[in-house]
């Protein structure tokens, strides 16, 4: 790509904002009422962490969500308007494997884990589960286009960052470090997309 410095993010935007949000509308309609299940399970997993300091159920849930979103959203929907979506789906599948591996290899919770400070991660999780779906209302988008944890990539990525922050210190090895990459990358890519669509 010659003269790469002359390109702006908007030059790579393939679709209109209307088309993009319509994706979520069709996605939500297709999978309704799965939204209740994903949010409910997310809340249950957070409650389980609160009581036991075990983040394993949350990681397993997130692994399933990343795999599902990679298939149901990126491959089945986003690929219709974005030729890069199959590659993104591959990244989501890889992330699912990383989270699963992290869940399997995490040691059981111990008393010192109970004392570990959560530093806002639980609050972020609550926000992605309960508040994020309503964020679109502030921008004039109807609730049918809501981005819901477990079905939409953005809130799921944010919830994953929060969950990774809850992983106890002894488990913070290579797999844990690698598991940060995809959610952070997705947040950046999504942010650029949203900014270019403004």
């Amino acid at each position: 790509m010659t003269e790469w410095w002359t390109y702006r993010p908007s030059d790579f935007l393939l679709f209109s904002a209307r088309t993009y949000w319509r994706l979520f509308e069709l996605h939500n309609l297709q999978w309704w009422p799965l939204q209740w299940l994903t949010v409910g399970l997310g809340a249950a997993a957070l409650l389980w962490w609160w009581r036991t300091r075990s983040v394993r159920p949350l990681l397993v849930l997130l692994a399933v969500c990343w795999a599902f979103i990679g298939w149901a959203f990126h491959l089945q929907r986003y690929a219709g308007i974005n030729w890069a979506a199959p590659w993104i789906a591959g990244g989501f599948a890889l992330q699912a494997l990383l989270l699963l591996a992290l869940a399997v290899w995490s040691p059981p919770p111990s008393p010192e884990h109970a004392a570990q400070r959560a530093r806002g991660a639980p609050a972020l999780l609550v926000a992605t589960l309960l508040l994020y779906p309503f964020a679109g209302l502030f921008f004039g988008r109807p609730l049918v286009q809501a981005e819901v944890f477990g079905l939409a990539p953005d809130p799921t990525a944010w919830a994953t960052l929060a969950a990774l922050a809850l992983v106890p210190a002894p488990s913070r090895q290579l797999t844990w470090r690698l598991a940060w990459a995809m959610p952070l990358l997705w947040c950046v890519l999504s942010g650029i997309t949203l900014w270019a669509m403004r």
């Binding site: 908007s10 030059d11 679709f15 088309t19 069709l26 219709g80 308007i81 030729w83």
Partner: protein, 313 residues
């Protein structure tokens, strides 16, 4: 510039009347006086074939995926476009599902007088032919009117391919494209050395660099010119929207800034067709209205550009 006269006027009128039969379109037609004025066209230099001054782009607007509601809306835009006298639709494999959207619309409209303009866009020269065929299937056309090397990607390999395809009768015209002022030196070099029929560049009331060298060269080399980004993807119209039209707009029969912008572009003697993109039937009719009536002369064109530059800063 001359009025568009189809080689088979009776068949063309029957076609327009058939397209006008769609109930939703009838209500969207502009006033009778404006609609009855002939669509102005310019000859493609290499063949003399007349092409209406305003076509239809598909970047972003037609990339709607398999959404039935959006596909139907795009089909209505195409219906209105053809009924208003439009012919050239431009697309590319880079534009997501736009090609499939066009193919969907052409299938619904049946025998639309489309001038198909698409592109080859792949870094491997060996995969060019397969991509072109895949694009043709998406459009559902038997033969391409125009194929272009998109943004000069691997043009050294794709241009010979397209020229071979033209010699074999698989397409009628060959071209190259760029946008936003990029690679103009390469564009000029190819225009001087290769037997291309079309060049597509960005040209509008603010982006006028091509007037210096590329447009004169196109006229000299008898290469047709397609103008993309006539509205800077809407940014130009957004900036002008709050300003009243200057007095010269009435002189050339413009009902809005979109028509003023298109008349500026289409009135350059070297430009063959401008390709605004839209998702709205009323906008496509306004755009096609720019291909009717009086066009600005050179003096008015300069006033238009000066006034717009002053308004948008």
């Amino acid at each position: 510039m001359r009025s568009h006269r189809p080689s088979r006027p009776c068949a063309a009128r029957r076609e327009v009347l058939r397209l006008l039969g769609a109930a939703p379109l009838a209500a969207a037609l502009p006033a009778v006086g404006a609609a009855s004025a002939p669509v102005l066209a310019r000859a493609i230099p290499s063949s003399g074939e007349a092409l209406p001054l305003v076509g239809l782009g598909s970047w972003i607007t037609f990339n709607v995926g398999p959404d039935p509601q959006a596909l139907a809306a795009c089909t209505e835009v195409m219906r209105a476009f053809f009924a208003a006298g439009g012919r050239m639709i431009d697309s590319s494999p880079m534009y997501g599902s736009s090609q499939a959207t066009i193919g969907h619309g052409l299938k619904q409209l049946r025998d639309a007088p489309v001038f198909s303009a698409d592109k080859v866009w792949v870094s491997s020269g060996a995969r060019g032919a397969a991509q072109v065929e895949a694009s043709r299937r998406l459009w559902g056309v038997a033969r391409w009117d125009l194929l272009q090397v998109h943004n000069l990607l691997a043009w050294e390999e794709h241009l010979p391919l397209l020229l071979r395809m033209k010699a074999a009768g698989q397409l009628r015209y060959v071209g190259i494209t760029t946008s936003e002022g990029r690679r103009h030196a390469d564009i000029e070099r190819i225009m001087r050395t290769q037997p291309i029929d079309f060049v597509q560049v960005s040209y509008n009331l603010l982006d006028r660099e091509v007037e210096q060298r590329i447009l004169p060269l196109a006229a000299e080399r008898r290469i047709a010119v397609i103008a993309n980004r006539p509205f800077r993807e809407g940014a130009l119209l957004d900036a002008l929207r709050r300003h009243a039209l200057p007095g010269w707009a009435a002189e050339i029969g413009c009902d809005g800034w979109a028509q003023a912008a298109l008349k500026f572009i289409a009135s350059h003697p070297a430009v063959t067709c401008a390709i605004p993109a839209t998702t709205r039937v009323d906008h496509v009719l306004q755009n096609m209205g720019a291909a009717r009536g009086r066009m600005p002369d050179a003096g008015l064109r300069e006033r238009m550009a000066r006034d717009v530059r002053r308004l948008v800063g």
